[in-house]
Amino acid sequence: MTINPSLSRRSLLGVAGLGLGAAALSACGGPSTSTAADPVSAGADPNGPSFAGVQPAKEITFWSNHPGNSEAVTRSIIAKFAAATGITVNLVTAGSSYEEVAQKFQAAQAGGRLPDVVVFSDVWWFRYYTQNSIIPLTNALKAAGVDTTDYRDGLFADYQYAGGQWAVPWARSTPLFYYNKTHWTKAGLEDRAPKTWAEIAAWAPKLQAANTGAQHAYEHPALADYAGWTLQNILWGYGGGWSKKGSFDITCDADPSVSALQYVQDSVYKGKWAGVASQSATDDLAAGACSATLGSTGSLVGIQKAVAGKFEIGVGFLPGGPVSQSPVCPTGGAGVGIPKGIKAANQLAAAKFIGFLTNAASTVAFSQATGYMPVRKSADTSSLLTANPLIGTAIKQLDVTRTQDYARVFLPGADQEMAKSVAQLLTQRADVKQTMTALHGTLEQIYTTQVKPHLG
């Protein structure tokens, strides 16, 4: 059989036709388009859909990244829930981080199979809200018989916007000051965390002179490890912030913020007592490579296991700054919520599960296994404190926490931009004011183009 391989006019037209067909076909999929931005469904009930007459589904799916190595404890809670309600929960490992879960959830919005419950980190739930991807939970939690007044007020309020409750606190954390007690003793320091950043600077020479074997007296957390979150503390301590409290007004280049970040840069280049973690500051602390660092409370149990038999770990409140000593501790971690595009029966079963997952007994069991904070006021933490007294410090610090700046949690990609800017300060010794001015422009643009149009 011989086929003429030369391209005739007819075959060219045929190929062009196929191409146009493919283009037309492709235009059929994807999002619906308009020439104007689509604000979040105006006029929708901020309490969420009604569940009158709805019976809960018998089987639901929960997407998690198992924060704080929580898979085992989550499975045990799920087993108890199944025994109590007869509802089966399929726990799916949807990624190894909040970002990976978010990728999968967003891809599922475009046509995949959605979960019934999904973990939302502090920087993701607002995006789902602006994308109309999740439901307000007030009616769902009410229909599921969940007592919402028992949640810790600050943690519960973190997920409120435009009159709606968009998630429920679950694996909630704050940063905590971790230090190596053996190094502290060698340096002749009091067995406590420093009260201010000035005190750390004063203690650092003693730690450096104590022959601890550590490369740095203090290590700033890895930039990829949520630099925007861990630096909130020092920014607030100096009276600055990424943005004004409760507002989208960017203040990262205001004088107090610049002073705070100048202190951070000087700790590395002038004082030379601080370093920056490449991968994980808490791993470096556990390896004895630094004497102190900041880390999530969700890392507490993991660090304790890592240093067991080597040295004793100490924890304390985050240090204050020259302007403010309290509250200078940001809340963080993750909550759980319910997607919009699933059946009402599944949403109701999901609400029942969320109530059980975060009830007083479950939250204590979860905290014990991970170090995350109990999210219920009625949680009996006595057994928790007996088993692990350090968790008490983390729980006490909850009383002096502050909700994070909007610029960090509500602007898509802001965390990455903050980390990039801080990287310039700490690895290339870039000018702080100029770098923060450039960051201001970037954050402003993100707000103007990606958030403001959706807020109506």
Binding site: A27, T35, R127, Y128, Q279, T427
Partner: protein, 310 residues
Amino acid sequence: MSNAPLAAPTVATRPRPRVSRRTLREWTLFGLLAFPNIALILMFVYRPLMTNIYYSTLDWTLGSPTARVIGLANYREFFTGPDAATVLRATGVFTVATVGGSMLLGLLFATVLNRRLVGNTLARATVFAPYVLSGVGVGLVWTFIFDPVTGVLAGLLRAVGLSSPQWFLDPSLSLTMVILVYVWKNLGYCAVIYLAAMQAVPRDLLEAAAMDGAGRVRTFITIVWPLLSPTSFFLLLTTILGSLQAFDLIRIMTPLGNGTTTLMYDSYLQAFGGYNRAGYSAAISTVLFVILLAMTAVQLHLIERRVHYA
């Protein structure tokens, strides 16, 4: 002159060639055999390609059910924004260094492995092994090796009184680190292909050169290298395509893309790395596609002319 009406002129028409049964049967058979492949290629290659080009004209947040048509604004933003120069530079440096490094070292290893040495088979397997390893696994292992605080390399440097460079924090060192690991992983592929080509070099040519008194270097330059040109051309084509699409090592070793944001990785970061700008990401992917297409066309039409086929 006669008034009789003129008869309509008769136009001689050539009889249409009738399609023979045999030709029809052959075309039907061709259609039956080729259709599944054509359908698959249309569905899984051209359709996503067209979809991507369409998405690049949208202001679309990933996961959102709605989007806004903005024409070429995403392209304008990319080419006029501050990141384009950085991203294109990182892409260029990464591609040149990894393609050059893999091919050069691959050729060097192939030359050594082409000799009769003790443990030759083991050496060949060792050189090729990294190529078949998972990129994620390789990335994780090398991340540990390069860690400036707890890593193996830092330990070795400390033992001789040196401190470790900040591989993960300094953007240029991050790029160097990823290039080194990428070359280590992929040079085995080039080595094996070169080795196969070297073994196909006619021995009589090599013997004739030896009899004429040509040394090893001279023989390599005047005989072996020209005969390897089809292989070099093939490797150049495939390694450039591979390097421009490198992802796994960059993602694992430098998740923020600090200094390592190539076009491919920028496309990922914009859609999935926190920004969720699916339309903008699609525009970057389209730019990458056009570059790949242009480079392949240039290579096929210009470089291939200089290739010496035996």
